[in-house]
Structure formats: C-alpha cells, structure tokens
Symmetry: C2
Subunit: 302 residues, 2 copies
C-alpha cells in the first residue's frame, strides 16, 4: 500500500475539533486555504469524504468520525513520544553508560558515581571498566574515558584534565636511593607496567631544559596498573604511576616520590564521545562533574 501523509491528520483533527476550517486555521497558525486543501488531499488519498461542508457548518461523515477518533489517539501518542524524547534531550535522564580503564575508573570515576546519582536522580549509570579499546557504538557507550595519549581517531574527544606520572617507591626502598639525577635508576629494581606501550624507557626532564632518558631494568612486569600499584606498595621496586593513583599513598606516606624535581611526560584525561550530532545532557552533566573532580587541587599538577 502506498503511504499516506500523516501530517494531514493533524489538520483534519483540528478542523473537526474546531468545527470550522477558519477556526482550525487560526489555531494552527496557517491560512484556511491550506487547511482546506490539505483536508481535501487527505480525502483524495483515502478516496473518502471525511467532512460534509456547508458555509455554515462542518460535519464529519461516518468515515470522518471514525478517522477522527483514531487520529486523536495517534496524535496524542506522537506528542507524548516527542515529549519523552524532549525530556531526554533537555534533562539529564536515562541510563548513562560510561567506559573507563580499570585504574582510572576504579580510583576516580567509580567514587564519583555516588555523587552523580545523587545529583541527578533520574539517571542510572552503567560503568564499564575495561582496558581494551571497545566499540562505543556496539556497546552503547555514551562516553568513554581515555587516560594517556589519544591515537588518531575520528571520534569526538574532549580533554577534561591531565595527569602526571610519578616515579614512586615504598619508603623502605626509597631510603636506599640517594641519587638526585635519573641516570643510574636502571640499577634499581623496577616494576614495569605491561599495559603501557613503552614500559621501560622513560624521559625525565627538569626546568625546561634538562632532559635524560633512562632504560629501566624490570624486576617484574605486571600488565595491569592496579597490580603495579599493589606490588609497589609492597616494596617490590620503583614504578611509574599516574598521580591519581598515588595521591593517597603519597599523602599517607605509604609511598614516596623519587626525584621530585624531575618530571615525566604528562598525559591527558579525555572524554571520548561516539560521533553524534547532539550530545545528551546526561553525558554533558557527567563530564562536567568529572572535570571538576579531576581538577581538584589534591591531584592537580603543582
């Protein structure tokens, strides 16, 4: 069957409800000519007279009454549907699926979710922790947190903060290190992070001009950052860890920063969105909250 123009239903219903083409046109904000024409076309499409017109009165035929009753329902449902969509597009509401790497997700994102759910009670959150790069669209991810360095990607991303990488060790081990330049660090036991692209070579810099590259000697390799942290806390060796993971241990003294005058390359914290024309408010709200959290002084670069 050929498809029928649904928009004309609204015109037709308006005429029946108003009991007049003129009033319907006024209500719709268009000319009565158009209303007359559109209804006539609807009748032509259906090959039915829907309205019997006098210059004085407009009465629906049996078919007209029938169609009117059903069209009213249809139009109200459509309006409801659009209203519901409008809710989603204007308010933070619905299910927010966040992807994050295990370390950052556990240390920073997960603690924030409680506050987020409290602030936006209409939102439900799904946090998907995974260090693998997953297909945002296939997994219905609204926003993916990426920590480190973005490879070229067509997806839309926004840098919401940065993190420093800190060379740390347990206090007992740290005491044995007296050097104030990175050159000889290769002799120290090092816990390599197998999740990084280049876990062993580190580029130190100081005061914008002093640069040293050091190749570490791995005492052990662990392929997940939280594992590296645990081994480091246990005194297994030096390691390079992001600030957001070691902020607490450093404050409590469970870890000590080695060579604090030297810095390692900083990485970015990014929110990556699937390619979409419009961003749902739930996503914007969450990213804003996370950005504020990330920029809190406790883990901000000094």
């Amino acid at each position: 069957m050929e498809t029928i123009n649904l928009n004309r239903l609204a015109y037709f219903v308006a005429v029946v409800d108003a009991g007049s083409f003129t009033r319907a046109a006024a209500r719709l904000g268009i000319t009565k000519t158009v209303v007359s024409q559109q209804v006539a076309r609807l009748e032509a499409d259906l090959r039915t007279s829907l309205l019997l017109r006098t210059t004085r009165r407009v009465e629906p035929t049996e078919a007209g009454r029938l169609l009117h009753a059903r069209s009213v329902i249809i139009l109200r449902e459509a309006e409801d549907a659009f209203g519901e969509v409008a809710q989603v597009t204007t308010n933070p509401i619905g299910t927010l699926r966040i992807a994050a790497p295990n370390d950052f997700g556990t240390s920073t994102v997960a603690p924030l979710l409680a506050k987020f759910c409290r602030t936006y009670p209409a939102c439900t959150v799904d946090l998907v922790l995974s260090d693998a790069k997953i297909d945002l669209i296939a997994h219905h991810i609204d926003v993916s947190m990426r920590v480190g360095w973005l490879d070229d990607s067509s997806q839309q991303a926004r840098r919401i903060g940065a993190f420093r990488q800190l060379l740390v060790a347990a206090p007992d081990l740290a005491r044995t290190i007296s050097a104030d330049v990175p050159d000889n660090l290769g002799q120290q036991p090092f816990i390599a992070n197998g999740a990084l692209r280049e876990p062993l070579v580190w580029h130190f810099s100081r005061a914008d001009f002093d640069r040293r590259s050091v190749r570490m000697r791995p005492a052990m390799t662990i392929n997940a950052t939280p594992g590296v942290l645990a081994a480091t806390l246990a005194g297994g060796g030096l390691s390079v860890l992001p600030d957001f993971l070691v902020a607490d241990p450093l404050q409590t003294g469970a870890l000590v920063q080695i060579l604090p005058d030297w810095s390692l390359p900083s990485g970015g914290i990014h929110a990556v969105y699937p390619a979409a024309r419009f961003r749902p408010p739930k996503v914007t709200a969450f990213v804003a909250m996370l950005e504020a959290e990330v920029k809190r002084p406790s883990i901000a670069p000094h």
Copy 2:
C-alpha cells in the same frame, strides 16, 4: 510547540528495523540519500541524535530506542485507522441513515430494508420518515428520498424512477361516475391532499394533445398522504394518489381507477445526496437496490 513532521517517523523506524539506511531505503522504495536526509531532519527537529552511524553499523541511541518503540505503535495504529476507513470506503458497511417522506418510506422503502440488511449484514439502517425537508448534514443523513418535483437545490440528486398519479375511488363511489372526460369531476366529492403544493387543480391529458384542467371541490382535506388513502378506501371521495400507494388496492379491487385513459402529471423519485466528493458504497448499494425495486413491473408506468 511547533509541529513535527510525522512522516519522518516512518523513515526512522524503517532504518532501525532494517538496521541500515541502505536496506531501509530499498524497503521504502526510495534512495538512501533521502532516508539519510529525512532522519537527519527528524534529529534536527528533535535536537537529538537518534542513531549512531558507522559505515558498518547503525545503532539507535537511548532517545532513538525510546522513539522507535513508540513510533512503531503510532505507525501501526495509523495503518489500522486507514485500513478501517478503507473498509468503509470500499464495502457497504456502517450505519446508513435514510430520509424519506412518510408515504413512500412506509410503502416502498421500509419493506425493502429487510432485504437490504440481509444482503449487506455489515450495514445498519436508520430510516427517518418525515415529510418536512430536513437538513441532511445536520441530521447525518446519507441519502434522502424525494418524491415529486425537485425544487432548485445545490445538492446532488439522482432520478431513480418515476411515479404516476392516479385518480382513484372506492368501487361503490366509482360506479356512480359515468363520464369519460374530466370536465365535470368538480361535482364529485374530492379528498384533497394538504401536503401538495396545489391540491385542487389537476391537469389531465390524453394522447399527447387532449388536455383539460379541472378544479376539484374538496369534501375534505387531509395533510398526509396515507390519511388520504385511508379516507379514499373508506369511500370518502375521489382522490389523486401515487401509483406506489395504490398498486395493491387496485389489484385487489379495493380501489378503482377513474378515467384510466387520462393521465395526470408524473413525478420523479429521486435520491438526494449531501454534497460530498465521494459516495460511500453503502449509499450506492442502497440506491441501486431501491432503483431496481421501483422499476419492478408491478408499479412501473404502463
């Protein structure tokens, strides 16, 4: 709120159902370009992304899933509504409201209704008997039977038959009338029909050239034709009655035709429709059946 183009819902739903713009376009019989554009406009209207597109996969967003679920319902309801209307427009179905004058309605229309309802079981009939000319539209009349002579009217009419007017009397009275020309009929007792425009002056004609006009002398005036018939059967006088009313009495001998060589003006039997572009099949079916009935030899002009 501004109105949203409902037609685009069909495009959007087709894409979600097909899981691909290309397949949706094929199914809709249009180009994928159009589908892409229409969905994009729908998204612009709603200021929401409904679909996340890859060249490989199309996934609906949360808003998209929401809208899809509701749109499917809306579209199916619309299709149902159109189907129901199509029923009414293609089959004799629904309520048929017929207006007819008391005499013709009682003598001819009413007896036919049983057959009509049997032939078209999906039809219900409302027969409105009234000698007054009523507003077809205001009373939701589908077809009005008019017997006699149509005055100028903008409404659509169709002549489905004719009737003769017969000068009749009860047999006892008829025996006292020996004249074979109408000239002296004015001396006979006459039962005038007050429902006619000119109840007393009658124009007789014979053989295409012999014409006489006679003014009758009313022994009584009755303003409803069935009453005139009753009084005539009782021997109250001569009267002029339509053939469809006196067919039976003439056959049984309860009435006798006076001056059978002379004819009185014939009138038409008309079906008058309210002004409408399309005629419902129930109306067409009824008028056809009535026309066949009217043209049956028993009451056809000789």
